[in-house]
Subunit: 397 residues, 2 copies
């Protein structure tokens, strides 16, 4: 039952259960918001929406940073915006790489003309603050440290507060990729001494992809204001973008993606109505249930113990399973999307996202039931029942 | 009756009549499409939608270019994508400037490290092919000529075919900004020897802002493949983006803005159902009616005679009118948005967009009636009636 060549399926897409690395599922209120009638990008109503959205973004980022905006592109545009604004040609930058997205940051630093210092950890592991300290000892002129909070490619969860302290002591800027963590696991920009941070909308914010929340603290703004060179990108130049977002200026830069901003504005309202702590706890709960069930099916966690993201559950695919075929059958027969491995983990891991609206008990059950059925050819069918029992035990505990 | 501080207006925005420089109005089928349930960016259904969308974009661009995609950002991201991919540090680029957007192209060429040759025309006028010829005689190493087809800041409509021929003879690439022209006035990429072209969704395509259609011909692709340096932007790097859009590869680059792509896919269907020639004619008709009515109210066209865009009607604001106040009253009291002047034309011109779904007889009538009422304090009220009569004469002719 493949839907691939059914043209009408494009007009009425199936309601996929989105348990991949994003996009995650979207609340009906957000679908309603994205279809609201357009107003202009300089309409007083839209400017008011921007102001409200900034206030909501600050709450979700746990920051008072004035320069808190939504970049008009996806999370990767957020990454590029953060780096291209903070790094000038010749600036020394330390990038911590333990997966695809740290790697991407290194790539961008090179394109911007920064002098790259790179430290690596095996994929799935996290960095010890000591390693950052030593790297800064080796390269004391480093001005920016870039690190990923939640590595979407591996499911590793990087602690940040001690690294923040070290960067502050060394007068380095700390730049954090929070694409997969924002609104899913704790993230405290101000308390953790994070100077610049970006995210995406299609992960734990449960909004369609297309915008990149970004926040710059006073030290990052200071760097921006004292640049010797123009920002290499006009589109992502925060010295211009902030003039549009500033309530006192509202200078036209580019035409904002109105509908996407309607959607994010509503998605942020849902996050704040639930409350950040409750939302973090919900993600932890469903991850525990999922991982208990997956363990019964023979899937072991892939990320470093004690540093596993609840929102992106990476597991090793057991020997003997044709992982691409099973993922395809999950999609075609059960309407469930999960993620395969990226980069050096391709074909080896699955990445099961439980982000935002996707982190629901019925979704955990649906996936475990489907896998129980699909894997009976290679495992004992009793394991499917055991998987559901294991998840249930978590929910009733 | 200001709506500025009415919080509920954000949840249920008024149905604005959008007659500014974009966003234009959106057809209900496109609003329906943008709210469809998400599927993943690597879902076979989404990949099929991308393939269909490329076919539709090629038809609208009148091209067979393989590399025809939608960039995940607004029209300005399309501009940056075109320039950053075609221009390497030190490359000589001729930019033709007769308004804000030519100016923006010059700015970006500088940021990319290109060697800028710039020719200027007074705002509102267009370039004669002879001027491009002479500029290339002066700088024979020029490799790219960049020009705006439809200057959104002035309403000037630049003929291109002769410039295309000159560029082909000189082995230059011709790069065209078609943000405001695509699907509103004739644009023939292949027949006019245009090597690279970008647009935006929120003008004559009548889709919400957020994507930038872009097409590169074989000579532009050849330049891309023989670059000596990496593209300065990772997010806009077409050597990577084309691997995602290629049906044979479908390599993950970034998470596509799914909802925006649903919307553009549907907006393109509407364009093709209407037919390009009928659509161009519709834009011409409503522009003639509007300009006839505006003439009765004392507004003279601002762009060069014979080169006035039907989709973006720029007019001089008569002496004695507080143009900002009238525009604000149009918005607050009549729900009509029109555009003020940009750059050196700020405070001097109005820009009335009749793009895509906005180019309708009822919108022309609504604006002329509203202006007739609002301007009675400064003009004779009989002029309002005369304006409607003048428009009607166009429609019945």
């Amino acid at each position: 039952m493949t839907t691939e060549h059914n043209p009408s399926a494009l007009a009425i897409p199936p309601r996929r259960i989105l348990l991949g690395p994003g996009p995650s599922m979207v609340h009906p209120r957000v679908y309603e918001a994205i279809g609201r009638p357009l107003v202009g990008h300089l309409d007083p109503l839209f400017l008011e929406l921007m102001t409200q959205m900034q206030q909501r973004l600050r709450q979700v980022f746990c920051t008072e940073n004035q320069l808190t905006v939504a970049i008009s592109g996806t999370g990767s545009a957020g990454m590029e915006a953060a780096l291209v604004n903070l790094v000038e040609p010749g600036d020394e930058v330390l990038v911590c790489v333990n997966g695809v997205f740290g790697n991407r940051m290194s790539d961008i630093v090179g394109r911007v003309g920064g002098m790259l210092h790179r430290i690596d950890r095996p994929w799935g592991e996290v960095f010890d603050p000591q390693e950052i300290q030593e790297a800064l000892d080796r390269s004391p002129a480093t001005r920016v440290v870039a690190i990923v909070h939640a590595e979407t490619s591996t499911g590793a969860w990087q602690p940040l507060v001690d690294i923040g302290r070290i960067c502050r002591e060394r007068d380095c800027l700390l730049l954090v990729d929070a694409v997969t963590s924002l609104a899913g696991v704790e993230l405290r920009i101000d308390d953790w001494w994070i100077d610049a941070c970006y995210s995406g909308t299609q992960k734990c914010l449960s909004c369609p992809p297309g915008l990149a929340p970004l926040t710059f603290g006073p030290r990052a703004v200071d760097k921006l204001q004292h640049r010797q060179t123009k920002v290499a990108s006009w589109y992502l130049d925060l010295t211009l973008i902030q003039q549009y977002w500033s309530e006192r200026q509202r200078l036209y830069h580019h035409t904002a993606p109105i509908s996407m901003n309607y959607a994010l504005h509503e998605a942020l309202a849902l996050v704040l109505e639930e409350g950040l702590e409750s939302r973090y706890e919900r993600h932890r709960l469903h991850s525990r249930a999922l991982m208990a069930g997956l363990a019964e099916l023979g899937f072991a966690p892939a990320a470093q113990q004690g540093h596993r993201l609840p929102v992106l559950n990476a597991v090793w695919v057991p020997e003997g399973i044709d992982e691409a075929q099973v993922r395809r059958r999950l999609l075609d027969e059960y309407n469930i999307e999960i993620g395969g491995g990226l980069g050096e983990l391709a074909g080896k891991v699955w990445r099961v996202g439980l982000m935002g609206e996707s982190a629901r008990r019925d979704n955990v059950h649906s996936l475990l039931m489907a896998l129980g059925e699909l894997l009976t050819s290679t495992t004992d069918s009793a394991e499917g029942t055991a998987a559901l029992d294991a998840a249930r035990a978590v929910y009733v505990s």
